[in-house]
């Protein structure tokens, strides 16, 4: 088979992306679990483990650069390598969100959680599930899944709005809790951004398969478009 070596290198890159993905998924779930339990030691460990995520990202990036330099990738091969560069960058940022949550956990010190975490873990579980499916779709060049998955981000956004409204009522009832509420809002914000980035990964998979780079319209886009029309 022609270009056997190159094919197996591409396969290895995809496997490494899955590994990086699973590191990020674990980091996110662990950071929320640690927050739930107010486990500062676990949070400190996660903070340091983010370095491993960054290291893995650069390892994959180097591999991609070598392939680009030595294999003269064209057409779809080129789209795969260029898109993977983007995807690992997204994954590294998603890892940063997990680190951010661990950071907040550490900053909270002795302060108790303003309320038991219910929607926050839901956002995390949903986001991680979406990421997992998006990366599977990437490896399999599954355009259908990549087109429909981003819609599920609406669920995450809805949870975020719910958390926001709930925290606002806490603040209104007792302004002294503002700092503790703010921390939780930041955690929710990180989780909301985490799910947003899954859409970017899906767009890249569609680009690899079709050569078309198009933004998948979010519900927000449609909402504001409608608002404008109604005016």
């Amino acid at each position: 088979m022609v270009r056997k070596t190159f094919e197996s290198e591409i396969q290895q890159v995809k496997d490494d992306v899955l590994i990086l993905g699973s590191m990020v998924e674990k980091a996110l779930l662990d950071s929320v679990e640690a927050l739930k339990k107010r486990d500062i030691k676990a949070a400190e460990k996660l903070f340091l483990e983010d370095r491993e995520i960054n290291k893995k990202r650069f390892e994959i990036e180097n591999h991609l650069m070598v392939l680009i330099a030595t294999q003269q990738p064209m057409a779809k091969d080129l789209r795969i390598l260029a898109s993977t560069l983007e995807i690992i960058s997204e994954l590294e940022r998603m890892g940063d969100y997990a680190k951010g949550i661990a950071n907040i956990n550490m900053r909270m010190g002795d302060a108790p959680l303003l309320k038991p975490l219910i929607d926050v873990p839901r956002m995390a579980t949903k986001g991680v599930d979406m990421l997992h499916r998006a990366l599977t779709a990437f490896v399999n060049e599954d355009v259908e899944t990549s087109k429909t998955l981003p819609v599920e981000d609406d669920e995450v956004d809805a949870l975020y709005n719910q958390i926001y409204r709930e925290l606002m009522t806490f603040i209104i009832a007792d302004p002294k809790v503002i700092e503790r509420a703010n921390w939780l809002l930041w955690v929710a914000h990180n989780l909301e951004r985490f799910a947003d980035r899954v859409t970017n990964i899906c767009e890249r998979t569609i680009f690899i398969a079709t050569g078309e780079m198009a933004e998948i319209k979010s519900t927000d886009d449609e909402f504001w478009k409608q608002q404008k029309q109604e005016k």
């Binding site: 022609v2 270009r3 190159f6 003269q72 990738p73 064209m74 057409a75 779809k76 091969d77 080129l78 789209r79 050569g211």
Partner: protein, 263 residues
């Protein structure tokens, strides 16, 4: 009859062009347009008819007695195979550079001067020679040895001398048949850079089996393959902007070829 000089956007056009060697149909049904002041590359696997097609653009294929064509090749809108057209005149207007550099066994100066003279040039020869050598990015390297033999310089320089010779008689089009395949990588890159300069004034069509060269140096690419009659005849299966051919080609055969999965 003089070839019509005009400002058609497409300096060469073909329509349903078939090319025969005797009864063997080497090329089938090529319809394509060559844009003025652009570089068009013709790529494809060995033996698919690239050089045959290129040589049809300036009737060089007629040097082989059994060759014939059907269909149309026009130059600035005029059919170059029409009865009243002089093939020699066609080759003045559409020049050619070959794979193996072939300077005449004359001095560097005479390679150009003799060519211009036999084409009727009677003006200031020193100026013409210098201009041609400058345009071919060779002047600085040979200005102090113009009377040395054209064969005494390096392969890359010889090829640039052949280009200088071709452009000294002011063609509109320069056809290049694998112009760099006998040259080292640095000489190759120099030829490619030269092509970028030359296209401001001339139109270039280049046949190359070096895909990276086609990708680097051309504006448009024609993908040729044996897909004509009985799969022994070559045809153009896809023609597009070079960047499309190499990032997102429409035909799977093109994709297989440019990604090296072919064969």
């Amino acid at each position: 009859m003089a070839i019509n000089n005009s400002e058609h956007k497409y300096v060469i056009e073909t329509r349903d062009l078939d090319i025969y060697y005797g009864s063997f149909k080497a090329v089938t049904g090529v319809t394509m347009k060559v844009e003025r002041n652009a570089i068009t590359a013709i790529i494809g696997p060995s033996g698919c008819g690239k050089s045959t097609l290129l040589r049809a653009f300036n009737r060089m294929n007629e040097l082989n007695a059994s060759t014939s064509v059907r269909g149309e090749v026009t130059f600035n809108g005029q059919d170059i195979y029409a009865k009243e057209v002089d093939p020699v005149e066609v080759r003045y207007r559409i020049g050619m550079v070959f794979q193996k550099p072939n300077p005449f066994p004359k001095s560097i100066y005479e390679n150009i001067a003799w060519t211009a003279r036999i084409h009727g040039y009677k003006g200031k020869m020193d100026e013409l020679v210098e201009n041609a050598l400058r345009q071919a990015a060779l002047w600085d390297e040979v200005k102090d040895k113009l009377h040395q033999s054209g064969l005494s310089i390096s392969g890359g320089q010889q090829q640039r001398l052949c280009i200088a010779r071709a452009i000294s008689i002011k063609p509109e089009v320069i056809l290049m048949d694998e112009p760099a395949s006998a040259l080292d990588p640095i000489a190759t890159l120099k030829i490619e850079e030269l092509m970028q300069e030359l296209k401001k004034q001339y139109t270039i069509v280049i046949v190359t089996h070096n895909m990276q060269q086609a990708a680097r140096a051309s504006d448009y690419t024609a993908m040729m393959m044996l897909s004509g009659e009985g799969e022994r005849s070559g045809t153009v299966i896809e023609f597009d902007d070079t960047k499309v051919i190499f990032t997102n080609p429409k035909d799977k055969r093109t994709e297989d070829y440019v990604t090296g999965r072919f064969g």
